[in-house]
């Protein structure tokens, strides 16, 4: 079985290509440009273990997008990477939509650790579901 999949969502192509380059060697990684493409990808190629998304995007923000994805695959672990953390997101962590909130800029090593934690969280959820 291949490694569980991670989807990275951002409306900024530069961020996506950078993450692919940086994290592609360590993780089973895919990217989607913007929330609409991301939802399509999840529908056709899902489920994903972890979705790491930008917050401010056109059409739909990262939190709303994660909430929609959770309807399709409840085990998916959501992460938001944002330039500005507001109260709304802090509440979402409590509500369970969000596993972690990461502030930009986030050092790469720290990002790797968080992704590992998110993957472990996914395994745990899947284990519970299977059991």
């Amino acid at each position: 079985m291949s490694d569980p999949k991670i989807l990275i969502v951002d409306d900024d192509q530069w961020i996506l290509s950078c993450f692919e380059r940086m994290l592609g060697r360590c993780f089973n990684l895919e990217t989607a440009l913007g929330p609409l493409q991301a939802l399509k990808t999840v529908a056709t190629d899902g489920p994903y273990a972890v979705v790491l998304s930008d917050m401010r995007m056109p059409v739909m923000n990262g939190l709303d997008m994660l909430a929609k994805m959770k309807e399709i695959s409840p085990s998916t672990v959501g992460l938001i990477l944002t330039g500005y953390a507001g109260d709304e997101m802090a509440r979402s962590i409590k509500s369970g939509v969000l596993f972690k909130l990461i502030e930009k800029p986030c050092p790469l090593d720290q990002l790797k650790v968080i992704l590992e934690e998110a993957l472990a969280k996914y395994e745990e959820k899947e284990g519970l579901n299977a059991g």
Binding site: C18, R21, M22, D54, T82, G83, Y84, K104, P105, P107
Partner: protein, 402 residues
Amino acid sequence: MRVLVAEDDHVSRLMLQATLKKWGHDPVVTCDGQEALSILEQDSSPELAILDWMMPAIDGLEVCRRIRQKSTSMPVYIILLTAKTQREDLIAGLGAGADDYITKPFNHQELYARLQVGFRVADLQRKLADRVKDLEIALTRLGRLQQAQKLEALGQMASGVAHEINTPIQYVGDNIRFLQDSWAELRPFLEPQPGKPDLDYLIREVPKAIAESNHGIQRVGTIVRAMRDFAHPPGINKVHSDINHAILTTITVATSRIKGVDVETSLDPQLPKTLCFPGEIQQVLLNLIINAAQAIGENPEKGVIRIATSTYRNCIEIHVSDNGPGIAYEHQEKIFQPFFTTKEVGKGSGQGLAIAYSVVVQQHNGRIWFDSESGKGTTFHIRLPIDGIGSAESEYLEGVNL
């Protein structure tokens, strides 16, 4: 209405006293000019005075002159009582600052009529003074409101900018890191080759270019973080804040506005977290730092701003010093007043220290004061109760200049 009567002639004084009482007034009586002067210098002194011209020591004319030299918000209406009827005398009396005169022996009806004029003017003056006071209060509020709106707009802009810049910082930083790691992996396969001096050059310079780029992007990150921390809108509740951190953030924000002036810090590493509105405290610190830099002014390369923190009983203290020329003695008692500024028109709003005072004293139950020595510089002290509630009032005994 209280009326001051200064008359050395016994009979005349008693008559005036009785007449005024009969008309329902409250006469304050004295027989010499010196006492009249000291009564008029008191707060809530009579609004109208009848002064005899001829009195021993200080005469009525001199009382007029001296009282007019002092500027009070509520000037007294003065009727000079005189036996002198020459035109030159009357002109001299009015010139000395009397509002009206009445000649002795006085006629009751005339005195009554002239007193009515005086009361009418005094009444108008009182109303005017009240209006002026209301206007001053309204202006102060308006100034604070404008400042608050400006800060809010600035805060929104700063967090928006911070948000936008953080995205490129993320990928530029990560890409630099990638280049650094890649270079480390590639480097063993690169050997200097004879006849290819360029390769030698690249082996030497590429790591430096990467390291310097890394340094640059870290610096941009620090600035943006400081800007965002600074602009973070003040919450409804006070939070336990690291004042040392707030100081360092503020210095980063202030750097561009205090070009050339060194900032030295001596921060107490044991400083306890203090319950406060950190954004407001940072605004106060920014005002003090910018004022300090402006005080140093002419010779920035010789100027030093020193910022220190310490603990004092149940309070923390922040000290901001400059080695500028000091605050002129005549300005010292005015500097916390709104709209007071020594800067050129358009350079300063005169609100900085007034806001500092309001934030420290009203919002935080703290104290703000200063020491200033001509030619040596000025130190502002801020004392804040650690628990955010207890007053710093009782702890505040020495070095106070308010």
